[in-house]
Amino acid sequence: MEISKEKLIELYTTMMKCRQFEERIVDLYARGQVPGLAHLYIGQEAVAAGVCGNLNDDDYITSTHRGHGHVVAKGADLNRMMAELFGKKIGFCKGKGGSMHIADMSLGILGANGIAGGGLPIAVGAGWSAKWRGTDQVTACFFGDAASNNGTFHESLNLAALHKLPVIFICENNQFGISVCQTKHQAITDISIRSTSYGMPGVTIDGNDVVAVYETTAKAVKRARIGEGPTLIECKTYRWRGHHEGDPNLGSRYRDKKDIDAWKLKCPIERLAKDMVKNRKATKKALEAIEKDVLKQMDDAVAFAKEADFPAIEEMYEDVYVKEGV
């Protein structure tokens, strides 16, 4: 499959947005300007960009606690995302959800999710819903290597395969569940082999190769749209930051700094940039311009978030229930 130059530029831009959004969070968090927990996605951008590059606005995603990248890649407004992280009223969740619960129903973003494995059944339901309603919408379900040990993984993949639901299960194997590495949490190396037991196709790919992620997902999306059912795609990747901002020394209690450095050499953004320049799909200058533009968008988002108002105290009591008859 030949990917168009425009698509490559789009994937690069998306990855750059994911990266710069989070680099900004690193800084703001260290300054104490962003409250709460921030689980950063840096290093894994090829997965979100490659998957979401195949989705339409009315397709769905379910995300995880490490969800900024998925949400950015699905096209969410950066200003409102940043405002949510600041706890501001204009944020996606009116400042009541924060980093782990960003949702945008208008873009099919069914929520980042604070419960590991919590999003899998929800994705199954969204897929089921598309089937019931007779649409060709698909759902991309992001989860991590550690969540693949949760019971919801088993129940969800079984249901999706049984009913041929249009769901693409994206396992982002970043090799750690907080501090526990993959070899200590499961006896297998390739999580995709589990697909066999549900009767669905499964594949393991290099999750730092955005082109591979894009092409593999494209096949799975095509299958899903024509009613042939779900696919499990395992993307092997690595998180550069600690489990969350504040995890001491980027997780030095449970991993070797040399590993982090080695994975940084496999940066998915630099890798695509090199390939594009080499294959004359883009000039260095053009890519630098994209980076500059994205940085400007981040400046704007931070300024927007800083200036915005906090929610009023009485808003704490609103939205517990949907108002009837409105």
Binding site: G91, G125, A126
Partner: protein
């Protein structure tokens, strides 16, 4: 008026809801050709097909979580969990996802779904098929909890539950399934948060739930022979709770007993007692009494279980004791 059993009344409500709204789908274990273990869904799969009345695998977390995703994306699913005891297998979907999404997402999205389950001891089914821990769901903000005690209320509350735009825990009582009562043939709803006075009296208020309503009516007949007139208030929904009707009754009688089959500790009886203590203690002539299940698992042996179940044998002396105060 025509009489229907409690099970048939719910069946009729489900059928009506499915006819009037194609977004309504049913999911659960053995609800299809088998008709549900208590025959509440009998005939529905034959009428509406296997796509809309889905026999699920034993995957409570998968299909209840699936209903959350489906409800978020435009469906109105009704899940059956059989026994309330099985709800613990999908508590994340209920407590962390279904109940919280509308709030966490800042008022975006709604989760219009119903989860059916039943309570009640008395079938020698022991500690994992006999519990009545419905009060646990009123502890969690974001859920409505319906608890019908008659066939009339069962049909009307079910239609309201399905049409409501919020998630509803619909708690049936398995000993009531075969009880018959008048049920109009037409479609009607019982509004949430409206208690029903099942018997008028001037001496003691019994707030009774589910099967405790019928048991309280029997106790009231006995007590009437002693000249004690009992008023029976059936809240019909735990959330929203019709405090006003309960308080009006207590202001009249000055004596309050709460009869509920849940465990005594932290149940609805404890909550209503606390509300009375906080808000209307000046009207009370006597301490608040509670007739509930003991704080032990439900025992198997019929000799033990019959003592365990809160019944007329417990209600009569409890009321007589309240009458010692004047």
């Amino acid at each position: 008026m025509r009489e229907l059993s409690y099970a048939d009344a719910i069946n009729e409500a489900l059928k009506m809801a499915m006819k009037e709204d194609e977004r309504v789908v049913l999911l659960g274990e053995d609800i299809g050709c088998y008709g549900g273990i208590f025959q509440v869904t009998k005939g529905l799969q034959q009428e509406f097909g296997e796509d809309r009345v889905v026999d699920t695998p034993i995957s409570e977390a998968g299909f209840v979580g699936g209903c959350v995703g489906a409800a978020l994306t435009g469906m109105r699913p009704v899940a059956e969990l059989m026994f309330i005891d099985f709800s613990t297998a999908c508590m994340d979907a209920i407590f962390n996802q279904m109940a919280k999404m509308h709030y966490m997402f800042g008022g975006q999205g709604s989760v219009p779904m119903v989860v059916r389950m039943n309570v009640g001891a008395g079938r020698c089914a022991a500690a994992q098929h006999s519990q009545s821990f419905h009060s646990i769901f009123m502890h969690m903000p974001g859920l409505y909890v319906a608890i019908p005690s008659t066939p009339y209320d069962a049909k009307g509350l079910m239609l309201e539950s399905i049409r409501n735009n919020n998630p509803v825990i619909f708690v049936e009582h398995k000993k009531l399934y075969i009880e018959k009562g008048p049920v109009p043939e037409e479609s009607y709803t019982v509004p949430f948060g409206k208690a029903d006075i099942k018997r008028e009296g001037k001496d003691v208020t019994i707030v009774a739930t589910h099967a405790m309503v019928g048991r309280s009516l029997k106790a009231a007949e006995k007590l009437a022979k002693e000249g004690i007139e009992v008023e029976i208030v059936d809240p019909r929904t735990l959330v929203p709770l019709d405090k006003e009707t309960i308080f009006e009754s207590v202001k009249k009688t000055g004596r309050l007993l709460v009869a509920d089959e849940d465990y005594k500790t932290c149940g609805i009886a404890a909550e209503i007692a606390a509300l009375a203590a906080e808000e209307i203690i000046q009207y009370l002539k006597a301490p608040v009494a509670r007739v509930c299940s003991p704080d032990t698992p439900v025992p198997f042996s019929p000799q033990l279980e019959q003592v365990y179940i809160p019944e007329v044998k417990d209600l009569v002396p409890a009321v007589q004791n309240l009458m010692q105060y004047s």
